[in-house]
């Protein structure tokens, strides 16, 4: 700074006036330095993923607790945009920027649950119980209602059980789901493309 304008001059004078007025008395506040908050991501594990919401398909970086060592159990603690991604270039919308609260939502389901006919509450059941019971119900319905032929035509369809597939599940999930559903002869099969 070569020159000092009038305003700065007054500012500096005022500072000197107030400082010096008491500095003479030997009174000065204690040294008070402070540092910025520690950068919290320094050694976390970075995992690349894709935002699960809309179809822009933004790249995200998930930061997991721990450096990947076997004894450290990863928990995602922060998510931000992937700056390398050609579409979002590091940006995220209010939904993508809040993904951390999706992963850790108190409404995440943690155990298989069952609601009995007429009941007004959930009960926790085991995976084995749940899957066995569903398999039994499906087979019983299929065996009872499968249509092999109608008016002499082979149709091999099962119409009394239907399925809605997710619209945010992976291609791999979708592919396997489709393969299984058609092998059962199911036709009442749709996804969220329409709504």
């Amino acid at each position: 700074m070569n020159g000092m304008n009038r305003r700065q001059f007054f500012k500096v004078s005022a500072a000197m006036l107030s400082g010096s007025s008491m500095a003479a008395l030997g009174l000065a506040p204690q040294t008070a330095l402070a540092e910025v908050r520690q950068y919290k991501l320094a050694r976390m594990t970075e995992t690349r993923n894709t935002c699960p919401y809309c179809s822009v398909g933004c790249g995200i970086l998930m930061y997991g607790l721990g450096d990947g060592a076997k004894n450290a159990k990863a928990t995602i603690v922060h998510i931000e945009g992937d700056a390398d991604h050609p579409v979002n270039r590091g940006t995220l919308c209010p939904k993508g920027a809040s993904l951390i609260d999706f992963i850790h939502s108190p409404n995440r389901l943690k155990q298989p649950q069952y609601r009995a006919p007429g009941s007004d509450k959930w009960q926790t059941i085991s995976w084995d119980e749940a899957l066995d019971r569903i398999a039994a119900l499906m087979k019983a319905d299929r065996d009872a209602n499968f249509v092999e032929k109608t008016e002499g035509k082979t149709v091999n369809r099962w119409l009394t059980t239907g399925m809605l597939a997710a619209s945010a599940s992976s291609n791999e999930t979708a592919y396997l789901t489709h393969k299984i559903v058609r092998s059962l002869g199911m036709l009442a099969f749709d996804n969220q493309a329409r709504v």
Binding site: T31, A32, L33, R37, P94, G96
Partner: protein
């Protein structure tokens, strides 16, 4: 160098000089908010809360898109939505990201009585250090933009740090990184000012004759600047002050009044001292006692 991880330019309530030899060769940093690109998506709000580990209350809707309705100790930035009908009868939805402006001449720092509770780094960021904050709220009175908020929980003052922790390691603030449309950008103040000129030229070409940069001189300029389509009427943007200044009351109180009143009080004491030295005490003598006795006995 003791603790700080960014060079400090100014500290609140500190009379001794701050180490000031180091100056960033590229000048200070700035965040540029291009209101004409902003779609009010609030990604900056959630990214801010996410990065800074803040969660505000789930509030209510009072008939506007503004949520949370105002800045709080948990919401260091909020979007303010204003519906404006132009004289031509067209509608404009003016959406402004509100938050700390990081004034070059920060009123909060000036008003703060607690040493080191508010600092200004050499890069221009004005940061609150809550461990030094005593919760008096003077920063609130000092701020021309009504930004700092005092927590009901710990009675300390909070506001945007411009993600000083990210900037310190060379990253941009969380809101800047996340902004989907690039309405928030970050760089040196010089680069941001230049970039703003290009944006203003574009806006002028699209019919916004009064487009301009908001970098108010009344507070020495700011390290958060706006590109406005109607720079001549900043108050259209949910009351952005036209010519913000530190309140004269605060300037008086935390400015010249401070040394003058100190001097006056010291003077009062000194006058007494010298009076005593020169004139001496007003003593009651034996004679006064006798006179008193005499007066009584005469009656």
């Amino acid at each position: 160098m003791a603790l700080q991880s960014l060079d400090i330019k100014r500290r609140s309530a500190t009379t001794s000089p701050t180490p000031s030899v180091r100056e960033p060769s590229v000048g200070a940093v700035a965040k540029l908010i291009d209101v004409s690109k902003c779609i009010g998506c609030k990604a900056c709000q959630t990214a801010c809360m996410e990065w800074n580990d803040l969660r505000d209350e789930v509030g209510t809707n009072v008939g506007v898109y503004d949520n949370p309705a105002d800045l709080t100790e948990h919401s260091w930035t909020v979007m303010r939505f204003a519906e404006y009908e132009t004289p031509q009868g067209d509608l404009e939805w003016l959406i402004r990201k509100d938050g700390c402006m990081h004034c070059e001449d920060p009123g909060c720092l000036k008003a703060c009585p607690s040493p080191g509770a508010i600092v200004q780094y050499a890069n221009g960021i004005v940061d609150f250090h809550q461990e030094h904050c005593i919760g008096c709220g003077y920063c609130v009175t000092g701020c021309p933009f009504n930004v700092p908020r005092i927590s009901k929980k710990d009675h300390k003052a909070y506001k945007c740090t411009l993600c000083s922790d990210r900037v310190a390691v060379g990253q941009e603030p969380a809101c800047v990184k996340t902004c989907p449309t690039g309405a928030i950008e970050f760089g040196t103040k010089e680069v941001m000012t230049e970039h703003a000129q290009a944006r203003i030229a574009d806006l002028k070409s699209r019919g916004y004759a009064n487009a301009g940069l908001y970098d108010p001189a009344g507070v020495g300029g700011t390290h958060v600047m706006y590109v406005l389509h109607h720079a001549d009427q900043p108050t259209l943007y949910s009351g952005l002050p036209k010519d913000p200044q530190i309140s004269p009351a605060v300037s008086l109180w935390k400015g010249v009044a401070k040394p003058l009143s100190m001097a006056a009080m010291a003077l009062a004491a000194l006058v007494g001292f010298f009076h005593y030295m020169r004139v001496g005490p007003a003593e009651t003598s034996e004679e006064d006692e006798r006179n008193a006795e005499k007066e009584v006995s005469h009656e």
